[in-house]
């Protein structure tokens, strides 16, 4: 077992399980939180993440399949690929592949939303392109079962901030084409933006 990354919330280890390459996501203890809040959060989030990921896998959304889940860890199938924020072509926003991928990302999010789920951190860092050019959604650590237009609109805002205007327009096209509920979500999005915060923001790190 080898540690491959240390995120804000969890450590990721690489291992083998049932003869397949697997990833272990372990939610780390945080000394800054009171113990009750800390263990409550870690447990709830782990359970929630495993449940949502398993459910999306069931309905055929490309997410890593959950092999095993414990109180503070999840073992899942490894997806071999690169996250979109690390792919130059997507960063620069040029080419028909970038356009296809963003539009696919839009329709993927639409499917997730239609199933009553919000991702919670839907950025290019959590979309992965595998060797066969297929797009996967990863990291459901902040996801939730919800039908609120606001939660869904926030997913879109996060993506809007993580890509340029042109790619965002293709993303939105894919989203609108994928769900009948797009109208109310986009209306909510405008409302959130009108609240005054967020007016001049674009993401320049990552």
């Amino acid at each position: 077992m080898r540690k491959i990354s240390e995120g804000a919330e969890a450590c990721i280890y690489k291992t083998m399980m049932l003869g397949r390459n697997a990833i272990i996501k372990y939610r780390v203890e945080k000394s800054y939180r009171v113990m009750e809040l800390d263990s409550d959060l870690r447990e709830r989030r782990t359970r929630n993440e495993a449940r949502i990921q398993a459910e999306l896998y069931e309905i055929g959304v490309r997410v890593p399949s959950v092999m095993l889940a414990g109180r503070h860890f999840i073992v899942m199938n490894e997806v071999a690929g690169e996250t979109l924020n690390k792919i130059k072509m997507i960063e620069s926003g040029r080419g028909s592949t970038a356009i296809r991928i963003m539009s696919e990302a839009g329709s993927l999010l639409a499917r997730i939303h239609d199933h009553g789920i919000s991702h919670g951190d839907f950025t290019t860092a959590n979309l992965m392109l595998d060797r066969n050019g297929r797009l996967w959604v990863i990291d459901f650590g902040l996801s939730a079962f919800t039908n609120s237009a606001e939660d869904k609109a926030l997913d879109i805002i996060l993506m809007k901030r993580s890509v340029g205007e042109k790619l965002y327009s293709h993303f939105i096209k894919g989203y609108v084409g994928g769900t009948a509920e797009a109208g109310s979500v986009l209306k909510k999005l405008e409302e959130i933006e009108r609240r005054g915060r967020y007016q001049t923001r674009t993401l320049s790190v990552g």
């Binding site: 995120g7 804000a8 945080k30 409550d40 951190d121 926030l154 001049t200 320049s204 790190v205």
Partner: protein, 325 residues
């Protein structure tokens, strides 16, 4: 070089004097808040009555014999209050002939902390009444404080104030919530973090609703722990994303001992150093405005475009250029 800074964005009228980076004086007059909160026009009247006295005292304490530059808070803040500081600065500028510099209030809280500890590129946790943001310097398109994450609804300070009023506590509310929470026990409350953003209204509504049926101490304790944990989590995510080596907290709520302790632990766990200025610079004050105005004055040739000597109630920090080191 001697610079005077005038701050009046909310209930404090503050004047500070700085000489070549050294803070010579930092005088404040604070409007006493009633249980109902702030009425901008009344506070502005109060500032108007005190302005000349506070300026004179700050100058006297500093023993400055001349003035080379003057800064004032352009925003964000309450319009009528900002106007008093702006007019005082304009008047002082007319009398002395010293040039005038409009300063962003939030940037001043950050810059004074960066200045005091000599930091280059910290991750910033700016927590005040009206705002709660996670920020850092970015160079594109111009050097400015970029907002990585922030509250989607209300600032953490105002959230604590609203709770304190509902619980019948006395101002200053932030510290009275902290006192009430001593010995309290944790109970689960709505915890909402979305990436590096967060919301407080759900938490506030829940806490106020519990006041009727649950021990006040437990409610206060859980509210404070939950809110501060949310801020820490958002900051932690930003720290790992930006890989900065230093974390600072500033703004009114950065006076909270508990929040500073939590942020210190969080930063330490990622081998980053944590800093917070003494309380005198985290509550509103004129010295921080003077510190920024001095940097603006000595780097004036690098500044882009002309200056606008107005006030701006909603002055976003991204729109304020940081053209000095």
């Amino acid at each position: 070089m001697i610079t005077v800074g005038i701050e009046s964005s909310a209930h404090t009228f503050g004047v500070g004097v700085v000489e070549d980076g050294k803070i010579l004086s930092n005088v404040k007059s604070m409007y006493k808040i009633s249980d109902k909160g702030i009425i901008p026009m009344k506070v502005a009247d109060f500032h108007q009555k005190n302005a000349a006295r506070v300026i004179r005292r700050a100058l006297k304490e500093s023993e400055a014999e001349r003035i080379d530059a003057i800064g004032y808070t352009k925003g964000p803040g309450l319009g009528p209050c900002l106007r008093v500081g702006q007019l005082s600065a304009l008047t002082l500028s007319r009398i002395t002939g010293a040039p005038l510099y409009p300063v962003n209030h939030a940037a001043a809280h950050i810059e004074v902390t960066r200045h005091l500890f000599g930091l280059h590129d910290p991750l910033v946790v700016y927590v005040s009444g009206g705002n709660s943001q996670i920020l850092g310097l970015e160079n594109v398109p111009r050097r400015h404080y970029h907002v990585y994450g922030e509250t989607f609804d209300i600032g953490v300070g105002n959230m604590l104030d609203s709770f304190a009023r509902a619980a019948g506590l006395k101002p200053a509310w932030g510290s009275s919530v902290a006192r009430l929470s001593e010995g309290g026990r944790y109970m689960r409350m709505p915890y909402t973090v979305k990436g590096m953003d967060f919301t407080f209204t759900g938490l506030l509504t829940n806490a106020i609703g519990l006041l009727k049926s649950v021990d006040k101490r437990d409610v206060a304790f859980s509210l404070q722990e939950t809110a501060f944990s949310m801020i820490c989590e958002a900051a932690e995510r930003a720290l790992l994303l930006t890989r900065k080596r230093e974390v600072i907290a500033c703004g009114g709520v950065a006076q909270s001992t508990r929040l500073k302790k939590m942020l210190g632990l969080m930063a330490g766990s990622h081998r980053a150093k944590f800093y917070a200025a003494p309380d005198e610079f985290n509550s509103d004050n004129g010295a921080m405005i003077a510190v920024v105005a001095e940097k603006m004055h000595s780097n004036a040739r690098r500044s882009s475009g002309t200056m606008d000597y107005g006030v701006k109630q909603r002055y976003r920090i991204e729109d304020f250029d940081i053209y000095w080191r």
